[in-house]
Amino acid sequence: MERLPRGRHGLSPEFVAQNQRDRLLAALAEILYERGYEETTVAMVGKRAGVSKSDFYKRYESKDACFLAAYDDVVERIRETVRVACAGKGEWAARALDALEALLVFIVDDPARARLVLVEGLRAGKGVYDRYQEALQSFVPYLRDSAPAPAGGPRPPEATDEAVVGGIASLLARRMLAGEIEPVGEFLPEIGEFTLTPYLGAAEARRIISER
């Protein structure tokens, strides 16, 4: 992210503050990705962002506060990505696959931000866990409220929707923890079939995936 010109530039204080916040969040995601939560320091983040230590503390009270802000920011980006994909026209299954694809593209394009949410979120302590759970829970309605029931069968049991979301998050987090980002880009048929099967039956799920 571009640094602002030094000295007198006529930019409003609000603009400068927002720009610094954006730069700090991006820098935090990068440093976390490289070093993990424990080793990341305010000094490293400030240096990477080109923001002085005193300005860092004007924007965020602590490393934790900056982390939570970054967390919320990334979750919002992912939610928006999925929301846009799901808002498209067409059958539920096609939209679900669009959303999963958008999620995978997000991860491959920006592994640092993705890891922040999927891996560090579970590790950084109590305040973050609630956000992680809430973020996962926010994807459940896409399944619970919009997915059809299998042809001629009842809706899958209640726990299924959450288990599908949790299963995908777990798979992605494990690959990110292992540093295997590239293969994640190829996961659409895998997690697509996993997601569609409880609602459409295995045969129909496979047919839709193979025709895509």
Binding site: G36, E38, L122, R123, A124, G125, K126, Y129, Q133, L136, P156, P157, E158, A159, T160, E162, A163, V164, V165, G166, G167, I168, A169, S170, L171, R174, L177, F187, P189, E190, I191, E193, F194, T197, P198, G201, A202, A203, A205, R206
Partner: protein, 222 residues
């Protein structure tokens, strides 16, 4: 690996040589180790890993601080040892339950899942230590947790009918999904009723494999 040759002193102890009291002392030592590991499970379940101090552990276990340091390097090692012991125990129970269903994969998965949930209900503190605290305790604990998940992924893969029709990652997503549901139940302090999840989670795990089995049956009949 061949069994290690018994040392002379060990033999002497065994046959009541000069170390007549060694056997009970060894028993006491193992017992104390166990108490220390139980203590960290109970304390981290109550107050979290970070807040749990060595002083709390020794007080709770009723052992001297020196005893803890004779057995472990520090808090992290106690935690990892307790984690390993619990995972070994639950894994053993699940494998045993699965083994009772030779050639019948649906029963096997359900029995394995049942044994897992029964452990969670019986040992809520250890379940919390393994499935909640371990994720965030330390980087080494996160890796240990991931290894344990991998163990269950592989066990699931061995327990279901072989098929090249399902996604390669199917067991990872299924195990991850089950873990997430159980994790949340433990977080809500409802571990004691974990068995209530059995029917739904069994259905969730079996559905993809049933789909393949039915498709294959259909092909045979056609």
């Amino acid at each position: 690996m061949p069994p290690r040759a018994q040392s002379a002193s060990a033999r002497a102890k065994q046959f009541g040589g000069p170390g007549r009291h060694e056997l009970p002392r060894e028993f006491v030592a193992i017992h104390k180790r166990r108490r220390i590991m139980d203590a960290i499970a109970e304390l981290t379940a109550e107050q979290g890993y970070e807040a749990t101090k060595i002083g709390d552990i020794v007080r709770h276990a009723g052992v001297a601080r020196k005893t803890l340091y004779d057995n472990f390097e520090g808090k992290e090692e106690v935690f990892l040892a307790a984690f390993d012991a619990s995972v070994e125990e639950v894994m053993g129970r699940v494998e045993k339950a699965c083994a009772g269903f030779d050639g019948e994969w649906e029963g096997r998965i359900e029995a394995g899942l049942g044994a897992f949930l029964a452990y969670v209900a019986e040992e809520p503190a250890r379940a919390r230590m393994c499935m909640v605290e371990a994720m965030s305790a330390t980087p080494a604990a996160t890796r240990r947790y991931d290894d344990a998940v991998q163990g269950f992924v592989e066990l699931t893969g061995r327990s279901v009918p072989p098929s090249d029709q399902l996604p390669e990652t199917i067991e990872e997503t299924l195990v991850g999904g089950v873990a997430w549901i159980v994790h949340q139940k433990i977080r809500r302090h409802e571990a004691d009723t974990a068995m209530e999840l059995l029917a739904e989670l069994a259905e969730f795990m079996l559905a993809p494999y049933r789909g393949v089995a039915e498709a294959e049956q259909g092909r045979v009949h056609a």
